[in-house]
Amino acid sequence: MPLLEVKNLSKAFGGVRAVDGVDFSLEQGELRSIIGPNGAGKSTLFKLLLGSIKPDKGKIWFRDRDVTRAEPHTRAHMGIGVKFQHLGVYGDLTVRHNMQLPLQHSLSGEAMDAEIARLLERLNLAGTEERRVAELAHGQRQWLAIGMALAMRPVLLLLDEPTAGMGPEETRETGSLVHSVHEEGVTIVVVEHDMAFVRQLGAPVTVLHYGRVFAEGSLAAIEDNEDVRNIYLGASRTMAVRSRRH
C-alpha cells in the first residue's frame, strides 16, 4: 500500500476545474517533484493534500487511512508536514518562538531547547534564536519555514516552492537540505516551477496541466517528452537541455 494515494481527485472553483480527476501515489521514502505551467493546478492539489480545501470528488488515503475530509491539524498529527508557497513564518515572533510552536506539542524545557538548537544548526540559522523573524533575510525565513515543518517530525513533507525568491547559492543549499532530509527516510513532495531546482533534486516528476496529470516519469524522461516541452519547458529550453546532454 502506498504511503499516499490520491484517486480521481477533483476540485472546481466556479466554472474552472482547478484539479480534474487526478490519480497520484507515493511510496514510503520517495522524493517527487510536481511541475506545471501557471494555472496547472499545483497549488490547488497542494491545498487538497494539506486539507485546507476539500475536494468535490475523489479520495485521499494517507498511511492506510481515508483522510479526504480530515482537517489540516489532524493530518499534521498523522505526519504531514507543510512548507507553504508564501512564507508561513510569524514575523512578530522570534525564531525561537516560531520553532516552539510545532515542538510544544511533544517537548518542553531543556529537551525543546536542545531540539531547537539542533534544527537551527541544520538550517544554517544557529545564533538567530532571539531575533525577530521579520528581521531575517528572505532565504533565512524560507529555511525557517522548512525547519518548522521538520519540527513536526513528518512522515510526508510537502514543500511548495521552497526556493522562491532565493539566490543560486541559497537554492543549492536548499537542495542539499532536501536531499539530506530525504536520506533520513522522509517522503517528500516538492511543488516547483524553477526547473534548475527540479534538476538539482533529480527526482521523478509529475507534470500537471489544466488540472490533470499530463505526464509522469523520471526527470530525464520528462525532459525528453516533446508534449511536456511544448506545454511547459518551451523549445528554447529543450534545445539547451539537448545540447547539455550531448
Binding site: S52, P72, M148, M152
Partner: protein, 361 residues
C-alpha cells in the same frame, strides 16, 4: 520550575510590554496610588473612577480577541449587555428575594458565555473570518437592542423583574424593581455601588484580570493565539485546531465583557438597551485601537484615559466626533496604537543610540 516560578515567568513573557524591573516598580506604585484613591478623591470622583474601571474588562476582552487572536468583533457590547441584564434579572429574583448573590453572578457570567459558545461555534466552524465576524457580531448586538426596546409591556416580566423596554431594568424604581448590588450574606459583606468597598472590588478584579491575562498571553496558548492572528492556515498545518482555539478565546472574551456588564449594573443598579447600541460597540474599538490592540497594558492605560476624556467631552455635543478624530489621527500616525507605537519607537531609538555608542567606542 515550581508552581510559583512558572506563573511569575509568564507574567514577564515576551508577548506583553513590561519585562524590566522599572516597569514593575511603576506597576507597584500605580497599584499603591490606586488603592489609596479613597484617601485623596472625593466621593463623586471615586464613584466615577469605579465606573471607569468597569470599562477595563470590556476593553481587555476586545484586546484579547482582536489584538492577540486577530478576530475583530464589533459586537463585544452584546456580552456586556447580556451579562448586565442576566445579572440584573437574576439579582432581582435571587438577591432581593433570597439573598443569593452567587446564583445571580453565576447566571450573569454563564448566559453571555453560552451565547459566545453558540455564536463562536457557528462562526468559527463555518470558517467565517475578518469582516464577516465583525458584521455578524454587530448585527447580533443590534438585534438585542431592538428586541429589548420593545419589552415595555406588562408581558415582559421574568419572575419579579420587568425588562422595561427602552427604560431598561430599574430605571424607574418606584414602579419597577431595581437590580441590586452584590450582597454576600455569608459574612455580611456588601458591595453597594456607591461604596468604597465596590471601588476596591472593581479595582482588585481589574488588577487580577490584567495579571491573569498577562499569564495567558505568555503561555503556550498565548503563542498559538498570536500565531493564529498572524497566519491561521499555517497554524492549522502545525497541528492546532484553529477553530477550537478561536472558540475558547471568544468565550473567555465574552466572560470578561460580561464582568463589565455585571459590575456596571451592580454600580448603577440599572441597565438599558442602549448598552447594545452602535455607540457602545464602537467605543471599545476606539479605546483598544488608539491605545494599541496588541498590548494589555496599553489597552488598560488607553481605556482609562479615553473614558475619562469621553466623560469630560459629554459636556459638549462633540464627544464622538472628537474620539473619532483621535482614532483617525492615531491610525494615520501610529497604526499599531499610540502607546505601543511610542514604546516601540523609543525602544528602536535606544537600540540605535546604543549601537552608535558601541561603534564610537
Amino acid at each position: 520550575m515550581s508552581v510559583i516560578q512558572r506563573p511569575l515567568a509568564l507574567l514577564v513573557g515576551p508577548q506583553e510590554m513590561g519585562r524590566t524591573w522599572y516597569f514593575w516598580v511603576g506597576f507597584v506604585i500605580v497599584i499603591g496610588v490606586g488603592a489609596a484613591a479613597p484617601q485623596y478623591l472625593g466621593r463623586f470622583d471615586l464613584l466615577n473612577l469605579a465606573n471607569f474601571l468597569t470599562s477595563i474588562f470590556l476593553a481587555l476582552s476586545l484586546c484579547l480577541i482582536w489584538g492577540f487572536c486577530g478576530i475583530l468583533s464589533l459586537g463585544q457590547a452584546a456580552f456586556l449587555g447580556l451579562g448586565g441584564y442576566a445579572y440584573g434579572v437574576a439579582g432581582i429574583n435571587f438577591i432581593e428575594s433570597h439573598g443569593n448573590t452567587w446564583a445571580a453572578l453565576g447566571i450573569g457570567l454563564a448566559v453571555p458565555v453560552a451565547l459566545a459558545a453558540v455564536l463562536g461555534f457557528v462562526m468559527f466552524y463555518a470558517r467565517l473570518k475578518g469582516v464577516y465576524v465583525a458584521i455578524l457580531m454587530l448585527v447580533v448586538t443590534l438585534l438585542f437592542e431592538t428586541f429589548l426596546n420593545q419589552t415595555a409591556g406588562q408581558g415582559w416580566f421574568i419572575g419579579d423583574a420587568h425588562l422595561g423596554g427602552n427604560n431598561g431594568l430599574g430605571r424607574f424604581s418606584g414602579v419597577i424593581k431595581r437590580p441590586p448590588s452584590f450582597i454576600f450574606s455569608e459574612g455580611g459583606i456588601k458591595f453597594l455601588g456607591k461604596s468604597y468597598a465596590f471601588f476596591y472590588l472593581t479595582f482588585g478584579l481589574a488588577v487580577l484580570c490584567y495579571l491573569g491575562l498577562r499569564i495567558m498571553v505568555n503561555s503556550k496558548l498565548g503563542f498559538v493565539m498570536v500565531a493564529i492572528r498572524e497566519d491561521p492556515e499555517r497554524t492549522e498545518a502545525l497541528g492546532y485546531d484553529v477553530r477550537l482555539i478561536q472558540l475558547i478565546v471568544f468565550c473567555v472574551s465574552a466572560l470578561l465583557a460580561s464582568m463589565s456588564g455585571i459590575l456596571y449594573v451592580s454600580w448603577g443598579r440599572f441597565i438599558t438597551p442602549d448598552v447594545f447600541g452602535v455607540y457602545n460597540n464602537i467605543l471599545p474599538v476606539i479605546w483598544v485601537a488608539v491605545a494599541g490592540r496588541k498590548s494589555l497594558t496599553a489597552t488598560v492605560i488607553g481605556t482609562l484615559v479615553l473614558v475619562w476624556m469621553s466623560q469630560r467631552l459629554t459636556e459638549t455635543d462633540y464627544a464622538f466626533v472628537v474620539l473619532g478624530g483621535i482614532l483617525v489621527g492615531a491610525m494615520l500616525l501610529l497604526p499599531e496604537g499610540v502607546i505601543t507605537g511610542i514604546v516601540d519607537r523609543s525602544a528602536g531609538l535606544r537600540a540605535r543610540l546604543a549601537a552608535r555608542l558601541r561603534a564610537r567606542a
